[in-house]
């Protein structure tokens, strides 16, 4: 099983949108290697004939009647927002400098 390198952890952190400091990368990378080595023990345990289980109990999709039920008001929905403008969520610019 491949060890997970410091660079790989940095890449994964970027994918997961977490800025990890150098100190955090040094700390986390070896720990993740140990965990991965340990969970790798499941490789090859279940053969191709075993179906995957995503939920333990059988699920069917659930629909409800198409009727209006009360929801949050705009004020309630915005009540935890870091920034609000004109009854909307106010967010930083979406596009990068190069765009």
């Amino acid at each position: 099983m491949p060890e997970i390198s410091r660079d790989e952890v940095a890449h994964l952190a970027m994918l997961a949108r977490i800025d990890l400091s150098d100190a955090e990368l040094d700390h986390l990378a070896p720990q993740l290697s140990v965990i991965l080595e340990s969970v790798a023990s499941i490789n090859g345990v279940a053969g191709d004939d075993v179906p995957p289980t995503s939920h333990a109990l059988p699920l069917t999709n659930v629909f409800r009647e198409d009727v209006v039920v009360p929801g949050l008001t705009a004020e309630e929905a915005l009540s935890g927002a870091p920034a609000v403008e004109d009854q909307r969520f106010s967010v930083p610019r979406i596009l990068g400098e190069e765009a």
Binding site: V34, V45, P52, A81, L95
Partner: protein, 503 residues
């Protein structure tokens, strides 16, 4: 400590019905107890004195009009801080949600309110329920009332410690891999993980959707059953909620409490013993199995060979689901926003916020989950884990074809010292060895107090697992064992806990 706070919820409920005390008196007694001991225990992240007393006064007024809503109307409760409470901050033990006040109630919380239970406050937990010691809370650890230098289990260490320290007669926990049952074991209290889908997940901040389940945290099996009767049942707001009528768990616990096990077939799980299991925990477990035999149970050993892979399977499925679930903490709509200097983009704000807002364990698991789900590794890790989940369910099916319930010790060891395993994730994960299989298969489980280990005089737990939908069996067998223990010990295990200094 007052007689009130030492009483079980069932006794308090009887007292309310008989007019021996009021809900305001019960609530004040518990708030006083919190004031006296929670500085040391730190079971609560937030205490809602005014809200709880207002709820209690309303309960008393209802009862005076002859309109009590059920047996637990007026009995106060503590709620794990992972369930949304309208108007009351909900942090999940994370800095990223510090001060977040939900605009709605989780269904479990609505049901508590409808049944008239005053909510004392929100209990401490490992951040986003990731952990087995409550040390991963961003707001500092909870301490075990049996020994303040030790962990109370996790992730629901706050709820377990609150009932163990007599700060609340009842609490709500959530169990994704053992977060109700393992804290129950190490604090000498009762914890139940219901069948997946038995209790609504609406408003429960998801750790791993396919594994999470809320349930009762109490000091007695009957109290847990009464609470389960309040919070359980179908909820149209949770698409995985089971649509069926459930039997009365209160009745099941009462039936079990006569201590007669005749006709009950009990399977001891071979794989949940051996290396790494503390001698004193195993000794108490064997004694309890013998007690069940003397009470008429037929006991056989049952092998569940795939259980040896449960831990690894869980630590792939859980991070995968968690990394997806926690993507919603993006600093845009609610929660923390950290804005770096200059004119940062939304993505830069997200990255800075998630670095500042998440603790070590959350970062570890998000990155692990991102890895397990990334192309090239998906089949080897996540795909394989899902297949082993099937094998574990098949082991349960095969076992329950021959026995009514399965039993094991709840956790391999008693409570360890704070800090002992904090920087050794694999050692920490091993605490959930015995509790994880039930979450992977969706079956219900209970942990009941099982005496003190000889090595350290600390509590251990006895776990009972039943087939999906047969939650009544864990109450029946749990109540039977509790009654047999009470005969043997001359009282509840918590009577032997050292007293806490009060201020």
């Amino acid at each position: 400590m007052s007689e009130i706070t030492r009483s079980t919820a069932a006794t308090l409920a009887e007292g309310l019905a008989a007019g021996d005390h009021t809900s305001v008196q019960l609530t004040e007694a518990h708030l006083d107890r919190i004031d006296a001991v929670d500085g040391a225990v730190h079971a609560f992240l937030q205490v809602d004195r005014d809200g709880a007393l207002a709820d209690a006064a309303e309960s008393d007024a209802r009862r005076a009009r002859g309109e009590a809503r059920g047996p637990l109307d007026g009995v106060p409760i503590a709620v794990k801080d992972v369930l949304a409470t309208k108007g009351l901050a909900t942090t999940c033990g994370s800095k990223i949600l510090e001060g977040w006040i939900p605009p709605y109630d989780a269904t479990v919380v609505s049901r508590l309110r409808e049944a008239g239970l005053p909510i004392l406050g929100k209990t401490n937990m490992d951040e986003f329920a990731m952990g087995s010691s409550t040390e991963h809370s961003a707001y500092g650890p909870t301490r075990n009332p049996w020994d303040l230098d030790r962990i109370p289990g996790g992730s629901g260490g706050g709820s377990a410690a609150a009932v163990a320290a007599f700060e609340a007669p009842l609490a709500i926990g959530t169990d994704t891999g053992g977060s109700i049952r393992q804290p129950g074991a190490v604090t000498g209290t009762v914890g139940v993980k219901p069948t997946y889908g038995g209790v609504s997940r609406y408003g429960l901040v998801a750790l791993a959707n396919s594994l999470d389940q809320a349930g009762p945290v109490t000091r007695t099996v009957l109290d847990a059953a009464m609470l389960h009767d309040v919070i359980g049942g179908h909820d149209p707001r949770d698409s995985t909620s089971i649509q069926q009528e459930w039997p009365s768990f209160t009745e099941a616990a009462r039936a079990g409490s006569v201590g007669d096990m005749s006709g009950v077939k009990v399977g001891v799980i071979t794989e949940l013993a051996g290396e790494g299991w503390q001698a004193g925990v195993m000794a108490r477990f064997q004694e309890s199995v013998d007690l069940l035999v003397r009470a008429g149970a037929e006991v056989v050993e049952v092998s569940c060979p795939s259980f040896v892979h449960a831990l690894a399977t869980y630590y792939l499925i859980l991070p995968a689901e968690a990394s997806s679930n926690l993507a919603k903490f993006d600093a845009m709509r609610y929660g923390l926003r950290v804005t770096p200097d200059g004119d940062p983009s939304a993505e830069e704000v997200m990255r800075a916020t998630r670095d500042a807002g998440f603790g070590d364990e959350v970062k570890r698991r998000i990155i692990l989950g991102t890895y397990a789900l990334s192309s090239g590794y998906y089949d080897a890790y996540y795909g394989q884990a899902q297949k082993i989940r099937t094998l574990i369910s098949r082991d349960f099916d095969a076992a329950f074809a021959g026995v009514d319930v399965l039993v094991s010790p709840t956790a391999p060891t008693t409570a360890f010292r704070l800090g002992e395993k904090l920087d050794d994730p694999m050692a920490m994960y091993l605490n959930d060895l015995a509790t994880i299989p039930a979450n992977l298969a969706g079956v219900p489980g209970i942990s009941v107090p099982n005496g003190l280990a000889d090595e350290d005089g600390l509590p251990s737990g006895f776990q009972v697992l039943a087939p999906a939908l047969a939650d009544d069996r864990v109450y029946r067998v749990g109540a039977a064992l509790e009654a047999l223990h009470a005969d043997q010990w001359g009282g509840p295990l918590l009577d032997r806990a050292p007293g806490l200094e009060t201020k």
